[in-house]
């Protein structure tokens, strides 16, 4: 994706990802109402939808959209944060029809409500399921800054602090240094 295209999104935070490390070329955080317009821009630029994922973090429920291009690789990630008490995000299933099932699945797993969705009924869970299996316990939730790639920020709305939150006190080890210990204790 060119920077020109990326700049056309209305974002809260637009950043360049480190593709080699995370597989993402661009990461943009949007407010829910700006999502459909960004999806339309991506479709016009011949991107295809890869998936829609949910993520339960301390700040609320996040929907993460992955897009890619068939011939010019460069994954574009759109993140939309919804309020936990009222998790509503507008649907993009009228733009990318493939999002229809992905959104139903995310509704199953997280209870995110995709407003305007034509058929938001359980997809994978039983029709009478009254639980959302991937929601986390309060204590197990981590904040966005501790989990997600921040990237090289090009543009940030005033007052946007999602990735500035203090990193949780979870022990963070680099892959290389953790291995020695793991090798010693493993195989028990």
């Amino acid at each position: 994706m060119s920077e020109q295209l990326a700049r056309r999104f209305t974002t809260l935070c637009l950043a360049k990802g480190e593709y080699k490390k995370s597989g993402q070329a661009w990461v943009a955080t949007l407010s829910p109402r700006d999502l459909p317009a960004a999806a339309q821009e991506l479709l016009d630029a011949e991107f295809h939808i890869e998936d829609v994922c949910g993520l339960d973090i301390s700040e609320g429920l996040m929907a993460v959209y992955h897009f890619d291009h068939f011939t010019r690789p460069g994954r574009v990630t759109l993140r939309v944060l919804a309020d936990r008490d009222k998790p509503e995000i507008p649907t993009i299933s009228h733009i990318f029809q493939g999002a229809n099932w992905h959104e139903r699945e995310t509704n199953d797993f997280y209870g995110i409500i995709f407003t305007g969705h034509p058929n938001l009924i359980p997809l994978l869970l039983p029709e009478d399921a009254d639980f959302h299996p991937l929601l986390k316990e309060e204590a197990a939730r981590k904040n966005a800054a501790a989990l997600l790639e921040k990237g090289e920020i090009l543009d940030q709305a005033a007052g946007f602090t999602l990735f500035d939150a203090p990193v949780a006190d979870a022990p963070i080890e680099s892959g290389a240094s953790g291995e020695g210990e793991a090798a010693g204790e493993g195989g028990k």
Binding site: I49, D51, C53, G98, W101, S174, G175
Partner: protein, 388 residues
């Protein structure tokens, strides 16, 4: 004796009832599956029929849902690998690879060169066995019984070959974080090199027996148009995209491992119909043979697993990574989010079959029911992968 019939039972479940609401006049609601043989196990499709023609179709999923994504959150990084052999049982090594690749990308693990070649060889052989099974089962759907006998005979050899390094015949978990589980010895590599010319000799038989058969052509040509724009909107990849004329393949497009050192073509056919998708898969078998042949010749000596490879109590660094590989059905993606703990914070499994099947409702509109079976088979769905 009077029989009592529960009126709720007749009205059907939530899916049938909701589907019924949009019914037109003089149409029939028909439930196909989940036990219908051409739905490959446990897919259900609710159809609105106008005579023999489909007005609307809606697949109903979830009969094989096992919630692998939740299992990931309670298992160790190493302990989740066997699940990857069970998501798509026809091409499990692509899933092995996507998961291992995502975690390796997250942790910055470099895989030894010999292991990269072993991964390529095993995955391509597995791709051939997946395509062979699809070929046999698809023709079975279309009413030809004999081809599956030929396909299974050849697939059996592949399973024998893969059994040696992987220890399994179907649900492989051959990959390790940082390499593979076992080396391929001289005998295994010789078996592989013997298999390549063997299957090359068999492919013309397949062509004479089936591909050039006029009945098959009449059933597949011009049936089930899926163009590039549709693939884009639904996120359909793999043979569907290449059957729409776009030579896009994750192996080269988003190249990984040593695929860019190997010389092979991406077959694509511009006809956008079921026959094009059939031809793509047949040609892919040839290309996979080419890859395997080169990879066996190029394979270097060396380690197959990095030193100090992750063990069950290994902690991944915090962060996120997405890794995609090309499976037999399309782009297999794994998104892993880590909080620095022993279990993944979140794993998303992007199944190609899921996106490919979501296209079925649109592609089957206005076709004959018998053609819908031809379309469904040409998507090559594996339900455990779709339902995860």
């Amino acid at each position: 004796m009077t029989r009592t019939i529960n009126p709720d039972y007749i009205r059907g479940d939530l899916y049938t009832q909701r589907f019924e609401q949009g019914k037109r006049e003089n149409t029939l609601i028909l439930n196909m599956g989940p036990q219908h043989p051409s739905t490959h196990g446990v897919l259900r499709v609710v159809l609105e029929m106008d005579g023999e023609y489909i007005v609307r179709a809606e697949p109903v999923l979830g009969y094989l849902h096992r919630m692998h994504e939740k299992m990931a959150e309670v298992k160790s990084y190493v302990g989740f690998m066997p699940n990857m052999g069970r998501v798509d049982y026809l091409h499990p090594l692509a899933w092995n690879w996507s998961y291992a690749g995502a975690v390796e990308r997250l942790a910055g693990i470099e895989v030894p060169r010999r292991a990269e070649f072993l991964r390529v060889i095993a995955t391509e052989l597995n791709r051939i066995s997946s395509h062979l099974l699809w070929w046999g089962a698809y023709l079975l759907d279309l009413g030809a019984f004999t081809p599956i006998m030929y396909a299974f005979e050849d697939r059996e050899i592949l399973m024998d070959i893969l059994q040696r390094p992987t220890g399994a015949r179907l649900t492989y978990s051959y990959f390790r974080l940082g390499g593979v589980g076992a080396d391929m010895d001289e005998r295994c590599l010789r078996q592989i090199l013997d298999f390549v010319p063997y299957l090359r000799k068999k492919l013309p038989v397949y062509k004479d027996l089936v591909t050039d058969n006029v009945i098959l052509r009449k059933r597949l040509e011009g049936v089930g148009d899926m163009d590039v724009d549709m693939c884009r909107r639904y996120g359909a990849t793999g043979p569907i995209l290449r059957g729409a004329g776009l030579a896009s393949d994750t192996r080269l497009n988003e190249t990984y491992s040593v695929y860019n050192e190997i010389d092979f073509d991406i077959p694509s056919f511009p006809e956008t119909d079921a026959m094009a998708r059939y031809m793509v898969r047949i040609r892919e078998i040839e290309e996979s043979l080419k890859i395997v042949e080169q990879a066996v010749a190029m394979i270097p000596e060396g380690e197959i697993l990095i030193k100090g490879a992750p063990k069950p109590n290994w902690k991944a660094p915090a962060g996120e990574a997405y890794f995609a590989t090309e499976g037999a059905r399309g782009k297999v993606g794994v998104w892993v989010v880590s909080d620095g703990g022993k279990s993944p914070y979140r794993i998303k499994l992007r199944a190609p079959g899921f996106s490919n099947l979501s296209l079925f409702a649109e592609a089957s509109q206005g076709t004959l029911l018998a053609d819908a079976v031809a379309i469904m088979g040409s998507i090559d769905m594996v339900i455990p992968e779709i339902d995860r």
